[in-house]
Symmetry: C2
Subunit: 292 residues, 2 copies
């Protein structure tokens, strides 16, 4: 089974834990709407890639960690799209959950997905409970306060925030959950895998800023995307489009350099290079930045 | 140390897990605002009372379960108070979190508290990981979809809901988490303790309905409280004030009858009787219902 299929199957199995004939139908439909169809599933892909690089000693536990992280990511998207945050009307090409099911169901969908993430992790660890406290702590720390994605979102409510701290919390933290949890699920030392995830996540957030600004440059002739509209810290605003691309390249190089020596390191390096081209495509974004 | 102090200390220790100099200050303050000062802390009290009745074999783990459940309860209150739900301006005599810190921080505070609850439970189970998958599953099931408190709240978004299913999900479920997790933390069989929690929780929700209707009867001369204003299912609306009190008494009797035989049963029965008088006071509510 390829990794993408393995991830979708594990997500379906996890969602089944939160479904049953006795539940309220709208919530159940909204939860599926928030998770399927997915995006690139880059976080669970990364988690499983690291588990594989570390020998894939416990695939069930690695699946549990990957699924938990993806469900937490989906929860954060549902809440980020709410009217009080980004007020986004679409997500992945379909109506956002609050548009399709109302604001109340959207709040509850995010809540239910957070709970389900930990439930799925516990379920996957039934045969290996010794690793559960560590895995759960890693995932919780990277999601909650003071430095996880919830904290990252909360920085948007503060009068001042440093760009690096903001990116680390908002995106880097969950990427480092992927690399750390993937390693721990396979029986490796998670601490050695933290930097790889942090650099990769920061690069991913910078790529988002770059695409946001590039899209606006393309459409409006000036960088005035969502980030500026919502007064969010953005690398493209702070460094300019070319500067942001240089920053992205540097972060990716540091990520690759932070991969600990292991049998699967070459495959991981290839994955990072493929992601780089997907995130900041040579043919469009880089060419545009040169011309700007 | 008395139980109330033990609970507050454990809550402070759990909140410290989500705090640090690197975090956004407003979120940290809002999280404390949501948890302190507390209400009656009836859920952690119940969890610890059951653990005690079962021999209190692992007080650290019981504290962890009690704290996780209270934090999840606090999270549900913060989200229930949001403008899209009850739009409540005060909670426990102080401004609701969304009033004091804004709607965005209120959404994130609820999210962070849910994460923190599972983190605190994992932390408390480091010395006893074998019990963590079971404890975590109990707590997650009683909070999430399809039958936990999140589902209970989601029933308010459906065109029809049966009163018993609604009460069971919205309140009974978390009370059964208390009794089941308290038992399991102490090494007892959680299933034997489920009914006690469910009946007690349902009684607690009926008592809420009764006080809501009684307060309105007292102030307005007719039962037109929050439940009717928000079109929520209410025992007092469905059964009348006297009928609802009879229903409450019956549920408490069933709760007491469901306490499994154990050394601590007499103390638990005394606790339930004391709660009964606190929830539906003889001198005010019952007298009022007789006169109505």
């Amino acid at each position: 089974m390829d990794t993408a299929t393995r991830i979708e199957q594990a997500l379906h199995a996890a969602l089944a834990l939160g479904e049953g004939p006795a539940g309220p139908p709208k919530l159940a439909t909204a939860i599926r709407h928030a998770v399927f169809p997915g995006g690139a599933r880059i976080r669970p892909q990364l988690c499983l890639a690291v588990a594989r690089a570390c020998g894939d000693g416990d695939p069930v536990l690695a699946d549990g960690a990957a699924v938990a992280i993806e469900l937490l990511h989906c929860a954060s998207l549902v809440h980020d799209d709410l009217p009080c945050f980004d007020d986004a009307t679409t997500r992945r090409g379909v109506p956002a959950v609050h548009v399709a099911y109302g604001e109340r169901i959207a709040v509850l969908t995010g809540d239910a997905l957070i709970v389900l993430a930990f439930q799925a992790l516990a379920q996957a660890a039934r045969h290996a409970p010794m690793r559960l406290p560590g895995l759960l702590s890693i995932v919780a720390q990277r999601v909650g306060a003071p430095t996880g994605i919830v904290a990252g979102q909360a920085w948007e409510c503060e009068p001042y925030v440093g760009l690096a701290a903001y990116h680390r919390a908002k995106t880097g933290s969950l990427f480092s959950a992927c690399t750390e949890a993937g390693a721990l699920a396979a029986g490796a030392n998670p601490e050695r895998w933290q930097s790889f995830g942090l650099f990769l996540g920061e690069a991913y957030q910078v790529a988002d800023d770059i695409r946001d600004a590039a899209m606006s440059t393309l459409l409006l002739g000036k960088p005035a995307g969502q980030d500026i509209a919502l007064s969010r810290p953005s690398s493209a605003t702070e460094l300019g489009l070319q500067g942001a691309i240089a920053h992205f390249d540097a972060l990716l190089a540091r990520a690759v350099g932070a991969i600990p020596p292991c049998k699967g390191a070459p495959a991981l390096r290839a994955l990072v290079r493929a992601e780089s081209e997907r995130l900041v495509p040579e043919a469009t974004v880089r060419t545009l930045a040169m011309a700007a």
